[in-house]
């Protein structure tokens, strides 16, 4: 029975090397993987950029609408900063400086020469003392004792709202390579002799150079570094919030009841971490929630972060151009008789930013600028 019936049956229908449907199903996954690997164009992204329209799934985004949305968000964020955070204090009129020019450690302003690029930003609290004085002079009760707790809470809430908007705008406008949420959370803004921050000044704008785990991190433990540039308006907003508002925020927070027990730890977090409010660091879930709420309310549909990443990937595929931003350097290299790699090795110390090679920095900077131009910034 086994030999006459069952063995032929199993050989025909269940043996993996047969031509039966079972064998095909058995092999399907490896075929699928091969097909997927061989057609990167198809698996790249579900987004298609057609003229002024972006298609994905059943949605069509009008680019004009997306640009308007971003511009509106930038405006509303600035409005909130001026009205609810700075409480009507005119920074320029009060003589409070928001310094976005590269400075040397001793305070003297560096020249606009080639070596000033990428100089670390110094985020100090000198200007914030002036702001605190101005705010107190304007009669804000939460800065004088006895403190008006409800007013203080309201002010801290406004700061929290601004940081939410800042996070979303940084996520979109920092370039066509959106930061991972973990990267966002690990961004360090302050520079100290022992710890180097992730923010730099490039042409009067803030640049973020952060590292993230590359695809082969599990195998060789490698990290990738990426250069991202923020638009000028956003850079100024970030500096205002960090340089001016944060020290005042800390003093208000410490004088209100209900602050965390470990004040030293909280102070340390406020000095280094970008996203923190009410004494608590943000987490990934919070970022995810903020992002989905922001995009759903603004654009009218949900765009999860992975889908947004696909959208950026589609843009990068379409706008794949070779930038010749380093042409001057290339000419100099040619004259010196060596290539850009040797040039970076020899002169990397002079004009590299965050340990990134100059050629890569220039190329990524151009991509960021292209992206911002495309979005109307």
């Amino acid at each position: 029975m086994i030999r006459t019936t069952l063995t032929p049956f199993c050989n025909t229908y269940l043996a993996p090397d047969s031509i039966s449907p079972f064998a095909t199903v058995h092999d399907w996954l490896s075929w699928f993987m091969a097909a997927k690997a061989m057609t990167p164009g198809l698996s790249n992204s579900t987004f298609r950029l057609v003229g002024e329209r972006v298609q994905f799934g059943c949605h069509v985004i009008c680019l004009h609408r997306f640009r308007t949305f971003l511009q509106d968000q930038m405006q509303s964020m600035w409005l909130r900063i001026n009205k609810e955070v700075l409480l009507g204090v005119d920074i320029d009129a009060s003589g409070i400086k928001v310094d976005l020019s590269p400075r040397l450690v001793d305070g003297s302003v560096a020249g606009n020469g080639p070596f000033s690029q990428g100089w670390d930003i110094l985020l100090d609290s000198e200007s914030s003392i002036r702001l605190q004085e101005e705010l107190a002079r304007a009669g804000n009760s939460f800065l004088k004792s006895p403190i008006d707790i409800s007013k203080a809470e309201e002010w801290l809430k406004s700061i929290h709202m601004v940081w939410q908007e800042l996070f979303c705008l940084i996520h979109v406008l920092s370039g066509p390579f959106p930061l991972f949420f973990l990267e966002h959370l690990e961004l360090l803004y302050s520079n100290s002799p022992t710890q180097r921050g992730d923010f730099f000044l490039v042409d009067g704008k803030l640049a973020i150079v952060s590292s993230f785990e590359g695809e082969r991190h599990n195998l060789i433990g490698s990290y990738k570094k990426r250069f991202r540039l923020l638009p000028h308006k956003l850079s100024v907003a970030l500096v205002v919030m960090l340089q001016l508002v944060r020290p005042v925020e800390l003093s208000v927070l410490l004088s209100t009841p209900g602050t965390p027990k470990n004040k030293e730890k909280m102070l340390c977090s406020y000095r280094h971490t970008l996203y923190i409010s009410h004494g608590l660091k943000w987490n990934r879930d919070m970022l995810s929630k903020i992002w989905s709420q922001w995009i759903t309310e603004g654009m009218g549909f949900s765009l999860k972060t992975d889908r947004y990443r696909s959208f950026c990937k589609a843009w990068r595929t379409k706008h794949k151009t070779t930038h010749n931003a380093g042409w001057l350097g290339k000419m100099a290299d040619a004259q010196a008789g060596h290539g850009p790699t040797i040039s970076n090795k020899l002169y990397g110390k002079l004009d590299n930013i965050g340990g990134l090679a100059t050629t890569k920095t220039l190329s990524e900077k151009e991509k960021c600028l292209d992206w911002q131009r495309w979005l109307g910034f």
Partner: protein, 178 residues
């Protein structure tokens, strides 16, 4: 009984399925297996009625039409089960697989799997999703085969040596008919 004395050995040799690994699905997850089969049947019925992308042999077409007719005519699910079983059997284990050798997509099972590999937007779906579908599909085919073996063995259960095999196959058969 010949050379294969133990059912496990025979099964290992013939289906490359490790003994003890293949377990009948429990009540909780049985639905997820039947859902794959239901998707296949739905695709086949739609193809028969609306000339879809799935190619069917005359025999498969005949059974699929019978099933459609029976569903339209009768409210009772039990009356459909035999035809449903026949349809799935003809899809998984077609009488003539030479056609399949020339073009794998001539098999409705493979065509269905190919359609599952793409998303609505026309791009490849995630590998993790497809892995689940293929694994369940394979298990379903194995169950149908074991059901077939069970019936064959029961029909010729005059030999004592068959009893061990029947004992092995019964849970799978019960799972199929239950």
């Amino acid at each position: 009984m010949g050379q294969c004395t133990k059912p496990q050995e025979a099964e290992l040799e013939l289906t490359s399925c490790r003994p003890g690994k293949l377990q009948p699905p429990g009540v909780d997850n049985a639905y997820s297996y039947t859902a794959v089969e239901a998707g296949l049947v739905m695709a086949v019925i739609t193809s028969v009625n609306e000339a879809g992308p799935i190619m069917l042999t005359p025999q498969q077409q005949k059974v699929a039409k019978q099933l459609t007719q029976r569903i339209e005519d009768s409210d009772s699910n039990s009356s459909c089960s035999k035809i449903l079983h026949n349809l799935l059997f003809s899809l998984y284990l077609p009488q003539d697989i030479s056609r399949h050798a020339a073009d794998v997509f001539s098999s409705p099972v493979v065509a269905f799997l190919a359609l599952q590999s793409k998303s609505e937007q026309g791009v490849y779906c995630d590998t993790s999703i497809l892995g689940q579908v293929t694994a369940k599909m394979q298990t379903c085919i194995r169950f149908r085969c074991l059901g077939y073996l069970m019936r064959k063995l029961q029909a010729t259960a005059d030999e004592d040596t068959n009893n061990e095999w029947i004992q092995y196959v019964t849970p799978f058969h019960l799972c199929l008919i239950g």
